[in-house]
Amino acid sequence: MEGKKIRVLIAKPGLDGHDRGAKIVARALRDAGMEVIYTGLRQTPEQIVETAIQEDVNVIGLSILSGAHTHLFPRLMELLKENKVEDIVVIGGGVIPEEDIYELKKIGIAEVFTPGTNTRDIIKFIKEKVK
């Protein structure tokens, strides 16, 4: 089964403990033929970036429900830049208010998928971004 596989890191940074959404997305991506590295809860941006480098992922998907997105996402983008791995596509999910999405996109988040998003849309987005 040689050939390129899309590798996605699904991480839950910060302190919230609800991962049902993240797990649903992880399973959907697996069913779409991707290799999903699921790291679990309470990841720091430093842990996420180091993992992304070792696993050579194409996409990082962050799931945040605690409102900490205004601080965690910028920190992540900073670290990606420092480590010269800015080509990794970063997407976000969870409870993120509409008014913040614009700011997030400005710092380089490719897309934000709020609750109720069809996983099909996430899959389509990733497949198009990672060519």
């Binding site: 040689e2 699921y38 679990g40 480098i53 070792q54």
Partner: protein, 319 residues
């Protein structure tokens, strides 16, 4: 070669990208792996296998932390099954090894089996070599093993630690499956669960009936999540390394492993020649004749073999 320089100097980004290349395009990766080879052979490769849920990742995590305290660097190849239907995989072993992700002395790579039946990823050997060249002292290969199919790990690792747990209801299965034959060290994890002593006794009895060469696998009890039994496990690993070196078995095992690798690579080469010298249309015609009983498969194969050999000697294998 710049990539080689970077890897032997510890550049984990370059190493990670080479691993990806080995998985996705082995022919191209080979040209680099060729140059990297002389920088390998220093790491000790330990296979960690056993049924799902037995505690492999937790044990790998605890062993790694202990080794780090001793100043050793560690590479971990964590393999999970790829879905045969979707081609995707959920690689979740890192959940049990979260603290290790910011330790610069540890490199963890998660891989899917990608259609491979032996329990390993097809790029496992390459990945082990890359981590070896990166400078890791110990490399763990962690994979699920429940039956006789998952014995590939024996061919790639210097030693295999088999992890089981009580109460899985398949004590007899484990014995029957012969999987015990591949363990150099046997661990009963979650030793606080009911049935532990019985399982240990059954395993010891099984070992009595099937004496292995000069090394009788020790049977250890651990409660990995509480860090119990881990030091004893490390001690036995060290004992086994001593035994392997003193008896010359390490050299022997590595040679057997290389022989298998050569055969596998040659098989792949022949498959390539087959698909490039015999086109699908031709093969379809032959298949149609065989189904109609105008030809038998054995004679057809003999004829095709001659075509292959002719193709090989005329065209050559200049790759």
């Amino acid at each position: 070669m710049e990539i080689i320089e970077k890897i032997i100097n510890g550049d984990r980004k370059v190493a990670a990208k080479l691993i990806t290349l080995a998985e996705n395009d082995f022919s191209r990766a080979q040209n680099i792996l060729k140059e990297l080879y002389s920088y390998t052979g220093n790491a000790l490769v330990i296979g960690i296998t056993g049924p799902p849920g037995a505690g492999k990742s937790t044990i790998t995590d605890k062993l790694t932390k202990s080794l780090r305290k001793q100043g050793k660097t560690v590479g971990i190849v964590a393999i999970d099954p790829t879905s045969p239907f979707t081609g995707g995989a959920l690689l979740g072993d890192r959940i049990r090894m979260q603290d290790l992700s910011t330790d610069q002395g540890v490199f963890i790579r998660s891989m899917g089996t990608r259609g491979n039946l032996g329990g390993l990823s097809p790029a496992t050997q390459s990945t082990v070599r890359i981590l070896d060249a990166l400078g890791k002292d110990i490399i763990f290969i962690e994979t699920v093993g429940v039956g006789q199919a998952e014995v590939e790990i024996v061919k790639v690792a210097d030693m295999v630690v088999l992890i089981t747990m009580p109460g899985m209801g398949d004590d007899i299965q484990i014995i029957k499956a012969g999987i015990m034959e591949i363990g150099d060290i046997l661990v009963v994890n979650k030793a606080d669960k009911e049935g532990c002593e019985r399982l240990v006794t059954e395993i010891e009895m099984m070992l009595d009936f099937n004496p292995k060469s000069r090394w009788r696998p020790p049977v250890l009890k651990t409660i990995a999540i509480d860090n119990i039994g881990i030091q004893e496990l490390l001690q036995e690993i060290n004992n086994h390394i001593k035994y392997l070196n003193e008896s010359g078995e390490l050299e022997q095992r590595r040679q057997e492993s290389v022989k298998k690798e050569i055969f596998d690579l040659i098989q792949e080469k022949w498959k390539e020649i087959l698909s490039s010298s015999i086109n699908n249309g031709f093969l379809n015609k032959i298949a149609a004749r065989i189904v109609k009983r105008e030809e038998d498969p054995y004679t057809a194969v003999k004829k095709l073999s001659n075509i292959l050999i002719h193709s090989y000697t005329q065209g050559g294998m200049n790759k």
